[in-house]
């Protein structure tokens, strides 16, 4: 394995004060709640969520940005938490799978995943759902080919892909049908 990246000691043009490499206080806003913890600046957002904040919904599948299991949103935009430094998310809003449901009420995409059996082992599912909800918001849901293309950053080794597309289609179609509630 290679050594984790350590921030450069060279003077930076940025106005941000240099912190680390020793553990520093990091404050993250996750699903609307502020959390402050000590961690080295090299700690990824994924490891901060999972190992420091015990929010294990985002999964580590590769730690290399290839599988998508760690997909979360930063300011509403989907990112790979394994390739994002936690310290770089200060001042931004992080949303994880734990923040998607409203209390006991599942998000429409979560319900559709259950209904369409869009998973088997469930390990990639948090990342799939965070991508799927973002895809619908972005409007990349025109047809199956577009959905498939925009969901191809999230690997499902159980290969539930046709059902993942069906779940996304279901939510898209219901949201276009005024007889259904909002999604």
């Amino acid at each position: 394995m290679s050594a984790p990246h350590v921030p450069s000691r060279a003077p930076a043009a940025a106005v941000l004060p240099e912190r680390g490499p020793e553990p520093v206080k990091i404050t993250l806003s996750v699903n609307g709640d502020e959390h402050t913890f000590d961690a080295e600046p090299r700690v990824s957002l994924l490891d901060a969520l999972r190992e420091r904040l015990s929010m294990t919904g985002a999964k580590k599948g590769c730690d290399q940005g290839t599988c998508g299991a760690c997909t979360v949103w930063v300011d509403g935009r989907r990112v790979l938490a394994c390739l994002t430094l936690a310290i770089a998310c200060e001042g931004h809003e992080v949303t994880t799978i734990e923040g998607l449901a409203q209390g006991d009420e599942l998000h429409a995409v979560q319900s559709a995943f259950i209904e369409q059996d869009a998973f088997q082992c469930g390990y990639c599912t948090p990342g799939q759902i965070m991508s799927a909800v973002a895809l619908l918001k972005e409007g990349h849901d025109g047809d199956d080919a577009e959905i498939a293309e925009w969901m191809s950053g999230n690997i499902c080794r159980c290969a539930a892909y046709p059902h993942i597309r069906a779940a996304i289609r279901t939510v898209r179609d219901r949201s276009r049908d005024p007889s259904h509630g909002q999604t």
Binding site: E40, V43, G61, C121, Y123, C124, E149
Partner: protein
């Protein structure tokens, strides 16, 4: 008997809510207080000796708690033999445990274990280790060792003989009007579940708790106990959710025992998660292989002889090959047969089970050869298979316990629209793309466990039930289907039943491998729940205050939580009434099931038929699977929704095997060329076409009480052949290597 109400229904997964909310906790999600992190360091050399490990710099790094190597890690107490985990015994993936000496047998072999207070610090310290090797030349490919091939007495942990014959192969070939003789080559494959293997180990005195990602908690328990010299009663294994396995968590590799040793050393809980790169060198793989098939047939296409030889590399430790010749020797009537495994020793770890282990490769070879034969004789591929249909296992002469294969061909062909296929290659087009239609037969054996499978059922006074059996859920839907089985056996609504599994404190279930899980676990659960029902009915009959007092138990049925006379349903009472009146908080029964002795007189197999439509761009050599159709006869279907999902997953694994998945050894360095999901390609959403599945239920009174034959693997068998045959139909090219890639089609 009760009427089945829940079994077979396409019920949503009972654990679905946990899985879509992030509430499902996998082994790596477990964080007992003060957990430390262990990181494995693998050998950079593929063969040789470690001449020195300089830990100076690493030990000075912040947060490091320990660096363990062969020089300071306690030696293994014993090395259990390699026995497939369905047997229920200790089940090491290979008969080699690292850290015993300075010898390096394969690249990636664990040579150091770094423990630190955070993951980042453990990883960083691992990178600071300076390990020196005296390298010796390695052998990692078939081409390097072909001359050294040997015929093993047995493979697969001793369960499969190295050679199997029937009739007289030479006489059968001499009688043939037409022969096919071809060699098929296969790249190595890796399971790559999205959850990398992980173990968290915590000691409380001499009691060890392991949170492990495994297909069998007892397999982890017994293997770690043997390696560490512990009594199994001191090893508690918990595995509620497993993030996919596909065989790489079917056997127990070094990391659970290493996590336990590290935790004992640092006197803190330790979490050891393999990296994605380590998933290529730590949990087995499907071996590179070559298969040669010689088919003989008369002019009507009836097989007279089948010779099927396989050559593959194994580890220095074990005679392992996936049993590629098995189903291919059983699927057609053929009087003269010879199957031979040959192995070469190589500097790799021991290969292991990978979904449809053996069947996926062996049936690719046979079903490609059959397509070849059909083409040469001008016989429709389905018709050719029907001409060679067998209603008994040709190896034993025993009748199939149930089949459904002819129905699979018929229904699959209808759904696919096979009749529209012009047999002439290159005869269908869509614009400049060539279209092809291919099919293949699927088959997967029904394996029974060697030891009794157990479950416990408990009914509470409020009329709710819980049923327990030690199996983890690695995506099969076992918790859901066992809830359904319980509901029907006890006559309860589904929402009053709950399944608990994944813990060695629960009744023992062998590792759910080889598509055996649904059959053997449903048998145990059904037996336990039926015993409980019978016990409750007997208690009511014996209770002077019960409306059922003195009734003949054979006349009593149960439904909606109520026991009643079948012919006079108004006479009866609810379970809750019986328990309340007798001041009972709960009633409990256990059940155990083993395959019946009768089953030895039958051939047992799940059958299916695969169909694929492929479009090939002749200018770019790009093959795209447009749709897949599968018809399968898995006995009784416990849950139509989860069964379809598993079969669909298997078929798409066939797509990956056919067109994407490959690894190769660098013969100079003795290392895998691919070690990430960026290099080892698996199907992504854009690769996966719509998959249409027909479930054909067949009654089977032999395999187990509910007649369940399993769906985990058969979906992959034949799928790659159907795709390759479709490519032949599209292009006229017969490709005999997997995966089939652009350069093969240009």
């Amino acid at each position: 008997m009760t009427t089945a109400l829940a079994i077979g229904q396409p019920t949503d997964r009972v654990d679905g809510r946990h899985k879509v909310t992030g509430g499902a906790h996998y082994s790596g999600d477990m964080l007992p207080g003060t957990t430390a992190y262990a990181v494995l360091v693998g050998a950079r050399a593929a063969s040789g000796r470690i001449t020195g490990i300089d830990t100076t710099e690493a030990l000075q790094a912040d947060g490091v708690l320990a660096i363990l190597t062969h020089e300071n890690l306690p030696k293994a107490a014993a090395q259990p033999p390699l026995i497939p985990s369905l047997a229920g015994m200790p089940a090491p993936g290979q008969t080699f445990f690292p850290f015993q000496d300075d010898v390096v047998h394969y690249a990636g072999q664990p040579v150091a274990l770094v423990v630190a207070d955070t993951l980042e610090r453990a990883q960083h310290a691992g990178a600071l280790l300076r390990i020196a090797y005296a390298e010796t030349p390695s052998v990692t490919t078939l081409d390097q060792a072909r001359e050294e091939a040997y015929e093993p007495e047995a493979i697969f942990g001793g369960f499969v003989p190295g050679r199997n014959t029937r009739g007289d192969i030479e006489a059968g070939l001499a009688r043939a009007d037409v022969r096919i003789d071809a060699t098929y080559t296969f790249a190595a494959n890796h399971h790559n579940p999205i959850e990398p293997s992980a173990t968290t180990a915590a000691w409380d005195g001499d009691q060890l708790t392991l949170y492990d990602a495994t297909q069998g908690v007892a397999a982890t328990q017994l293997t770690v106990a043997a390696l560490l010299g512990l009594t199994p009663s001191k090893v508690h294994v918990i595995s509620h959710y497993v993030g996919g396995s596909f065989g790489c968590k079917a056997m127990i590799w070094a990391h659970p025992a290493l996590a336990a040793l590290a935790a004992r050393h640092v006197q803190r809980p330790v979490k050891l998660a393999l990296t994605r790169e380590q998933m290529f060198t730590s949990v087995g793989h499907r071996e590179e292989q070559e298969q040669r098939i010689t088919l003989g047939a008369d002019k009507d296409g009836r097989l007279t002889a089948l010779r099927h030889h396989k050559l593959s590399p194994t580890s220095p430790f074990d005679d392992w090959a996936e049993p590629s010749l098995g189903v291919a020797s059983q699927i057609y009537a053929c009087p003269h047969y010879e199957g031979v495994y040959r192995l070469v020793r190589a500097n790799t770890m021991t290969p292991t089970f990978m979904r449809a282990p053996g069947e996926a490769s062996g049936m690719y070879a046979l079903e490609t050869a059959m397509d070849d034969l059909a083409h040469q004789l001008g016989i429709d591929p389905i018709d050719l298979r029907l001409r060679n249909y067998t209603d008994m296992d040709p190896n034993t002469g025993n009748p199939w316990s149930s089949t459904g294969l002819k129905e699979c061909y018929r229904r699959g062909a209808e759904r696919f629209g096979w009749h529209r296929r012009n047999p002439e290659p290159r005869s269908h087009r869509d614009g400049r793309r060539l279209l092809g239609y291919g099919m293949a037969t699927a088959g997967y054996p029904v394996y029974g466990p060697n030891n009794p499978q157990r479950a416990r059922a408990r009914l509470y006074a409020d009329g709710t039930a819980v049923v327990q059996a030690a199996t983890p859920d690695f995506g099969t839907g076992v918790a859901t289907v066992m809830t359904q089985v319980t509901a029907d056996a006890l006559g309860l609504p589904l929402d009053r039943c709950r399944f608990e599994g994944g813990d060695t404190t629960l009744p023992t279930i062998a590792a759910a491998v080889g598509s055996s899980g649904a059959g053997m676990i449903s048998a145990a659960v059904h037996t336990a729940a039926t015993n409980l029902r019978n016990q409750l009915v007997a208690q009511a009959i014996g209770d002077a205050q019960s409306p059922l007092h003195g009734a003949d138990p054979a006349t009593v049925t149960v439904r909606d939580g109520r026991m009643m006379l079948r012919d006079a349903p108004e006479t009866g009472e609810g379970y809750a009434e019986l328990l309340h009146r007798n001041v009972l908080p709960d009633v409990e029964a256990t059940g155990a099931w083993s395959p019946s002795p009768e089953s030895a007189h039958y051939g047992m197999m799940t059958f299916g038929a695969q169909f694929a439509e492929v479009a090939v761009d002749p200018d770019l050599g790009l093959a795209r699977v447009r749709r897949m159709v599968g018809a399968f006869a898995p006995g009784r279907v416990l849950n139509a929704k989860t069964a379809r999902s598993q079969l669909m997953g298997g078929m798409l694994w066939g797509l990956g095997q056919a067109l994407l998945e490959a690894n190769a050894m660098d013969p100079h360095r003795g290392r895998w060329v691919a070690s990430s999901l960026g290099e080892y390609l698996v199907p992504v959403n854009a690769d996966a076409p719509e998959v249409d599945i027909e479930l054909i239920e067949v009654a089977d009174k032999v395999v187990n009480p509910l007649g369940v034959k399993g769906v985990g693997e058969v979906g992959q068998v034949g799928a790659a052949a159907a795709i390759a045959n479709a490519i032949h139909h599209a292009t006229g090219r017969r490709i005999r290597k997997l995966p089939i890639t652009i350069e093969d089609l240009l």
